[in-house]
Symmetry: C2
Subunit: 340 residues, 2 copies
Amino acid sequence: MGRRATTRRIGIADVALKAGVSHATVSRVMNGNFTVDPTIAARVRAAATELNYQPNPVGRSLALGKTDTIGIVVPDLSNPTFQAILRGLSMAAAQDGYRVLIADSSEVSSEEAILAGEARRRCDGLVLCAPRMADAELEELAPSLQPMVLINRTTVDTHTPSLMVDYGRGIQELAEHLVGLGHTRIAFLAGPARSASNGLRVAGLEKFTAAHPGIELQMLDGGSTFEAGHQSVDAVLASGATGILAFNDLVAMGLLSGLHERGVRVPEDMSVTGFDDIPFARYTTPTLTTAAVPITELGQQAWHRMRDLIRNVPTDAIAEGPTVFQPRLEVRGSTGVANP
Amino acid sequence: MGRRATTRRIGIADVALKAGVSHATVSRVMNGNFTVDPTIAARVRAAATELNYQPNPVGRSLALGKTDTIGIVVPDLSNPTFQAILRGLSMAAAQDGYRVLIADSSEVSSEEAILAGEARRRCDGLVLCAPRMADAELEELAPSLQPMVLINRTTVDTHTPSLMVDYGRGIQELAEHLVGLGHTRIAFLAGPARSASNGLRVAGLEKFTAAHPGIELQMLDGGSTFEAGHQSVDAVLASGATGILAFNDLVAMGLLSGLHERGVRVPEDMSVTGFDDIPFARYTTPTLTTAAVPITELGQQAWHRMRDLIRNVPTDAIAEGPTVFQPRLEVRGSTGVANP
DNA sequence: GAATTGTGAGAAAGCGTTTTCTCGGAACGT
DNA sequence: ACGTTCCGAGAAAACGCTTTCTCACAATTC
């Protein structure tokens, strides 16, 4: 039995009483069921507005078995990429009357599974961004999280839609862009070792080196943050490379900042590329050459997949495998011809 | 009556059946009620883990009259300030086992009231960021949204905690910083006219001009975005001012970028200040002099106020009026001595 | 040994909805 | 005028849980 609320919220019973009808009739009226006498309907509506009645969503959810809410699990809310996904998701979902519950795992991947489960049970579906989660764990978790949409991950299980960014292709294009500018010594400032998207980049770069035997490509440890980029200035300079592929825009910006402090001119002395095309990438000095990912659109698409799942739309898009977003090379000021 | 789920989720009844006890006992065990025989408790727990039972939060919420969720209304999720508030709020709330539901009003203030109400009914409380909402509307809405915490707004009603940033004081400090550097012609690149925080800045600047009769201060129309700053380059140059107080960091960054394109050197030819100290402010070129607001901490504090409200902690902090955060002057590279 | 207290667990009510079931009464047909 | 249909609205069950109420049984007391 519930606790005594200090001021009882006004419920369907109050409206029913005031209108002199039963709960059932009030419910019917509120839900636009037309099997109710217009006279009575009007009376109910009048009572409802007069009492300023708003149906309790929790009661509704219990009866209907749905919450009109979806959850999203993100590893780090301070990362612009996830912010953009969240924004796209939230806005698209709002269009269809759905809300978004956020679950920030704060990079603590041990919490991720529990967090995802809890969020899922409160919602009608889950969008999962878990770049660091082990494949096995994801595979094991997946069934209990349905309906679910994955971002930058896949499961063997075919009925989980997956939205992927072709990081491999994007990084290749960036590398080739550098080669086109005459760079022969290139360094990749890698992201977190266990990150799935870092793996894709590495794979793409392996293809790249295979196709360009004359090019020297070094792998440098980095990270995914501004600070990581800033701290790797020494390693970058020591590498002797003239073209630097940063893991993402944040890292590139950190590097840019560090290089500036050292008096290294970009792009005259060194070319730097990012990845993602976060909003700030076009406002750095110099402006950042990067691989543009339509991140907000990705969030929006995530909702559309989710919506199809929730509505049980027989979509063969799922069977066709993950939806792959192709990054677009965005050449700006941070890359230039190699200094001989 | 609920719809037929394709695969019935496993509920308390299943556990009760398997353990050979009543629903009530299962509930007691799950909630750590010690009035139950250890033997039986063990049996129930065994059944629960074997069936992988997880209580349905909706049922729980209905019975308990609480959702362990709070809502936050933000006008624009792409604004770094609100992102930071959201992050601080979400992380702090998570520490206490609460989740955050987001409601992005997309700057459509006509939707704000409905959005806020809907979010509120799904949650145990609401954090409201509605800088553009009319005072009257806020005042009218407030009672139905309790418990609520306001960000950068106040109500006459004293039992709504309010967290404010002292924009007036902050902008004065920035202006005085410019004066200290020898600037005598200063321009304020104003934010949205109806924004509450813009009003506070203007009020602060009025105090400033009163105290500094010799200083010329112009008010320029601006906005709150990067683009707004970028587009106001002409107006800024036409003003003849040498010190520019931008509405916030975003605007300052846009202005910086526009000035760079025009070949105007900062800070040699012109000094520029921002406001907020968003993460990127320390990585612009030149780095941005700004008034640092502990935004994430503000989000965190918002949760603490909310928690006190939810727990009915008799806090006199509320009666004492709004909690005011003092911005801290952060002098970086974008301001320098005035060019004679 | 009967009365009293205590303890642990089941029955049932309640949270606020939606929806099925049921039934009285009006409208219709013969 | 009687039987059949149909329609609209109330009663009640269901959603999944918590908690009060109640009661059977065991343990204690005189």
